[in-house]
């Protein structure tokens, strides 16, 4: 049920996925060299889910992301510069340096941000959908969550409410097999989280999350269902995080062999090989793409490292209350 991208769409998707991969690697390097502080959650290996969701939807549809939010944010159209600036804690970052890597948002691109309290964003997404429906909006909300988050009660409560009220929510489970060190095989009561839709009367499906053409098509089908039926939908995408959970993760909870096997299903390689075999891409063109994306990224990072415009404490205070006052 996958669709075959034409050359232009294929190139757009491949560029996005490569940008996302290189972005994560850059962030990893900047953390290792202590250019950035705090912690970070990389989604290397999950690019097909990110590229396959927002680009398959109306640009005015909303997303609510997770602590692992860089790829989602890129795919929704945010600028690399504004994202990296946020990681550096700069005032030209997406949240002026107040949120950091776990809290990217970009309202202009209808990205409402993320909760770093795993699973809690799903309720916010459901509430956003409630208001969209109330205002007769034609748009939907994507609630991203992981296999780990699927065990939070609030996720289940949200699904129930979305179902009884017929809300336009696409519950998008990014099943990457692990929540930190915990394997879903031991932590999740069902072998597919899509099965949980049944309990809430929510239509659901599980797809290969490493094949962007599959994800893209499944998301379009899901959106069509949501609009036609006036009901939510649960889509599980099966993928794997190649990187550790967060910085300093030694990955003792899984084998190198398992990583090798999943490595063969690299989502970027899958799309690239397919495009080459369709005659849409040459190896040279791919190399050029990588080099270009890398150069842009390096240039932006280099500029930002020099800048260091930070908010003052007084400016930070001014955002604490919505009316801007009242310390």
């Amino acid at each position: 049920m996958a669709i075959a991208f034409d050359r232009d769409r294929g190139m757009a998707m491949l560029s996005l996925m490569v940008r996302s991969r290189l972005f994560e690697q850059k962030v990893e390097a900047l953390f290792s060299s202590h250019e950035m502080h705090g912690t970070t959650h990389l989604a290397i290996g999950q690019e097909a889910v990110h590229a396959g969701v927002s680009p398959a939807l109306d640009p005015d549809d909303w997303i609510v992301t997770t602590h692992r939010c860089h790829g989602h944010t890129l795919a929704k159209g945010s600028s690399v510069e504004a994202m990296l600036a946020e990681f550096f804690g700069l005032s030209n970052g997406l949240a002026k340096g107040l949120g950091g890597s776990m809290h990217l948002l970009d309202l202009e691109h209808h990205n409402a941000g993320s909760s770093a309290v795993v699973g809690s964003g799903v309720a916010l997404a459901t509430g956003m959908a409630l208001q969209l429906k109330r205002m007769d909006s034609p748009n939907l909300v994507v609630a991203f969550f992981g296999d780990g988050a699927s065990n939070r009660g609030i996720v289940h409560e949200s699904m129930n409410m979305a179902s009884i009220w017929g809300l336009p929510v696409l519950f998008l489970c990014e099943h990457n097999l692990y929540g930190m060190s915990s394997c879903a095989d031991e932590m999740v009561s069902v072998d597919s989280i899509a099965k949980r839709g049944v309990a809430y009367g929510i239509e659901s499906r599980s797809v290969d999350g490493n094949d962007v053409e599959v994800v893209y098509a499944a998301v379009q089908d899901a959106a069509a269902y949501i609009h036609k039926e006036g009901k939510p939908y649960l889509l599980e995408t099966r993928t794997y995080r190649f990187s550790g959970h967060s910085k300093n993760d030694q990955r003792v909870y899984r084998t190198r062999e398992e990583e090798r096997v999943w490595g063969q299903k690299d989502p970027i390689k899958i799309l690239r090989d397919r495009m080459v075999s369709r005659g849409h891409l040459t190896e040279d063109a791919y190399k050029r793409l990588e080099t270009q994306e890398q150069a842009v990224l390096d240039e932006i990072a280099e500029q930002l490292i020099k800048q260091r415009h930070e908010l003052t404490l007084d400016e930070a205070y001014s955002y604490m209350y919505a009316d801007g006052g009242n310390r």
């Binding site: 949120g99 776990m102 770093a116 065990n151 003792v252 908010l311 930070a316």
Partner: protein, 328 residues
Amino acid sequence: MRKLSYREAIREAMVEEMARDEQVVVIGEDVGCYGGCFKVTPGLIERFGTRQVIETPVSEEGLVGVAVGAAMMGMRPIVEIMYGDFSTLAADPIINHAAKMSFMTAGQVSVPMVYRTPMGSGTGAAAQHTQSLEVLFTNVPGLKVVYAATPADAKGLLKSAVRDPGPVIFLEHKLYGTEDIVPEGEYTIPIGQADIKRQGTDVTIVTYGKTVFTALEASQVLEDDEVSVELVDLRSLRPLDTATILASVRKTGRVVVVHEAPGFGGFAGEVISQIVEDPITFAALRAPVARVCGKELPTPFNKTLEMQLPPSSHAIVDAVLSLFPSAV
């Protein structure tokens, strides 16, 4: 004398208690081979197996509720919650259930549970992973709340917490690598006893948790200014060792209360109320009482801003000196 880090001391307390009593069970997310979010639990599952180390899904409300139920049946769970901030999720089983079980059943049912979780900023983890939420618990009758600063105190208090017949909230700071002397052999520290970390005569600083170290730093600076500081480390917030606080303030006549949580509605207000409500201590005051607390602001991700959030030793020194107008 041997030294242990804060995390090693906590681990040693758990290991000793788990070895002593097989009803002592560690429950939490990623507490197995991963060793816990702050690496406090490495080695436990290898040594005690899955009967005494239970790894849970990401289900804070549920897992704490389950621990409460198991405790009602005789287990002595030590729950680990990755970040104190997620106490908001676990609040129902703790506040509505564990805290009230003994009372509501007229003493027929008890919940011998320890709830371990770290609080505080300084990690660059932004506003949802850095709060100091101790007052969530201190305003709830039925809960005991302890917050050790040093490795030795952490070990002794945790052992007492495990042996307590009711629920104990065991708060930790995130300076898990802090090393200090920890006595060899079996010992416990009773819940409800403050510790004078530094004897002095001119002013009392009352604090707990991470800011004990900030206050020690400030005390050193003040010594050079010839101000002698007595530092009271509360260790237990509830029950509160009011006697030790009052005795110290009666002696020095001046008091500064310090904590990382915001001052407004914070625990310092309780400490100060205890002081000024006691007629003898009130009469002994030679200066107004003072507080140095965290800024009234969610934690910014930006490092420069985050560093300005908790009380600095500089701010503590200033607050102390302000109590000696003639000296400035």
